[in-house]
């Protein structure tokens, strides 16, 4: 479904991502782990067109999308969320999510209908499934960090993506919130048959839902495999798991 071939990104002289290749099969849940600064967010930015790679290719369903603008990549079915909450602060929660629904249905060019009457049900259903129904009319920017993370997820889901990239969807959450959110993501992924690629710092969480794990270290993919294989891999234990125990 998604394939990354020998992807490189240099910022000035600094190699943030160097020579990363992997394949993501349809319907799987894959996690990318690695310490801070390993290049996880940069990798997401490269895949979604936010940052242009220095070298390498990104293929979506066999079609090259390297260097395409983000809005095109989104329209091809790749959704994403951001590590640092990135929403529309002065819109209501409803408007934030509905905007993405409107854009997804190609209604952006319509300048004569009333926006607030369109796709109400879809938007409300999505908000309800995220537990945001009672916050629909609050300004997105005024809500708690946890709620904003949910809105972030809602905006990403509203485009009805085939592949969803979540960059630390639980960053800054308490452990209780983290588990709720992860359960929610797993449920939605299963319901929609999503292909999911995510990064997460809580190892317990990663091992609980990912079928496949890739370990990134200083911009390089040093290991890849099932959770069990990763747990046994001495290199992974040394650079990452070891660090935390």
């Amino acid at each position: 479904m998604l394939e990354v071939q020998d992807l490189h990104k240099r910022f000035g002289g600094f190699a943030a991502v160097s020579g990363v290749s992997f394949k993501l099969e349809k319907g799987t849940i894959m996690a990318i782990i690695g310490p801070n600064g390993a290049g996880k967010s940069t990798l997401f930015n490269l895949i979604t067109g936010h940052v242009e790679p220095t070298a390498g290719r990104v293929l979506l369903a066999g079609r090259e999308i390297t260097g395409a603008p983000p809005h095109e990549i989104c329209r091809l079915g790749v959704g994403r969320s951001f590590q640092r909450t990135n929403i529309f602060p002065n819109l209501t929660v409803f408007e934030c999510v509905q905007a993405a629904v409107l854009a997804h249905h190609g209604k952006g060019r319509n300048f004569w209908l009333r926006a607030d009457q369109l796709y109400r049900e879809q938007t409300e259903a999505l908000l309800a499934s995220l537990g945001l129904a009672d916050k629909a009319n609050s300004l997105a920017g005024e809500l708690s960090h946890g709620n904003q993370k949910q809105i972030e997820l809602g905006i990403a889901l509203a485009s009805d993506p085939d592949i969803l990239l979540l960059d630390e969807p639980t960053a800054g959450m308490s452990s209780g919130e983290t588990h709720e959110t992860i359960a929610l993501i797993a449920r939605i992924a299963a319901e929609r048959g999503l292909t999911l690629l995510f990064t997460e710092h809580d190892m317990e969480v990663v091992f609980s839902i990912a079928a496949h794990i890739a370990v990134l270290h200083q911009g390089r993919l040093i290991a890849e495999g099932t959770p069990d294989e990763m747990r046994r891999d001495p290199e992974v234990r040394r650079v990452y798991l070891g660090e935390r125990s």
């Binding site: 989104c74 951001f82 929403i87 529309f88 602060p89 854009a103 004569w112 926006a115």
Partner: protein, 319 residues
Amino acid sequence: MSRRPVPWVLVLFLVLLCIPWLGSRLYTFIATDIAILALFALSLNLLLGYTGLVSFGHAAYFGIGAYTTAILMKTYGVPFVVAFPAAGIVAAGFALVFGFFCVRLTKIYFAMLTLAFAQIVWAICFKWNDVTGGEQGMPNVPYPDLGWMSAIPGLGSLRSGDHFYLLVLALVAVAIAALRRIVASPYGRMLSVIRENPERAEFIGINVRLYQLSAFVVAGFFAGLAGGLFGIFNRGVFPDFAYWTKSAEVLIMTILGGMGHFWGPAVGAMVLTLLNQQITSYTEYWPLILGIILIVLLFGFRGGIVGAVVALNRRLRGR
């Protein structure tokens, strides 16, 4: 039975419609001025308040519209029904060309480029004597033929300035209704999403630059219409219409009235015009007063007049 909300906009329109019957030439004159400038300011707010684009050169499109209508009517004898929409279309055409370059830049660079293009427009108006009349402008732009209005019962006794005012009021009302429709549409929602967070907007599948450009063109269109009316109202068009001070003036109107609310810029246009009228008859220190008003506004009422009223209203209603 739930109470029907009062259709304030309709009430306001009907009140404005009555102004000619007050019998004062001055009132009609000021009301025409305000109506046209309100449209001009509302057109700017499509960029400023809705799309989050700061234009320092919006007067360019006002000026282009004014010259288009004036040249067509005076030089070529084209009737108003053609010369008026032409003002919007020609201004939109220029906005498309200039905007193509502007949306490639962001923030202050965008603003400076809009200013640069506006100065070019001004320079052309100023120097192209054969077509624009150069520095002298084009005086004596003819009034549209409004003889048919006298035939309408009740309007026969009014002066031609009153007839023109009624025409302006009707056209501005239609233009504002269209703008209102646009900002409430899905397209308008995409613009506010871009204002809120252009980076994120890309990731919900919006081609941000294209939408910014289209907003620039639409805003230019309506500014052009306002300019077309203003040239006739002013009985002449002059390079000043496109000068940067005009761009600053409309920017001040928009911020004074409140760019966070649809009607804010119209209120700003009204207040600024009335203040200008009043204060200049007492003192020559209008720029000083204007400066003070701006300072108070920026420190005290970021939401402008309408923003302050809305906030006050909310507080009075309770909680």
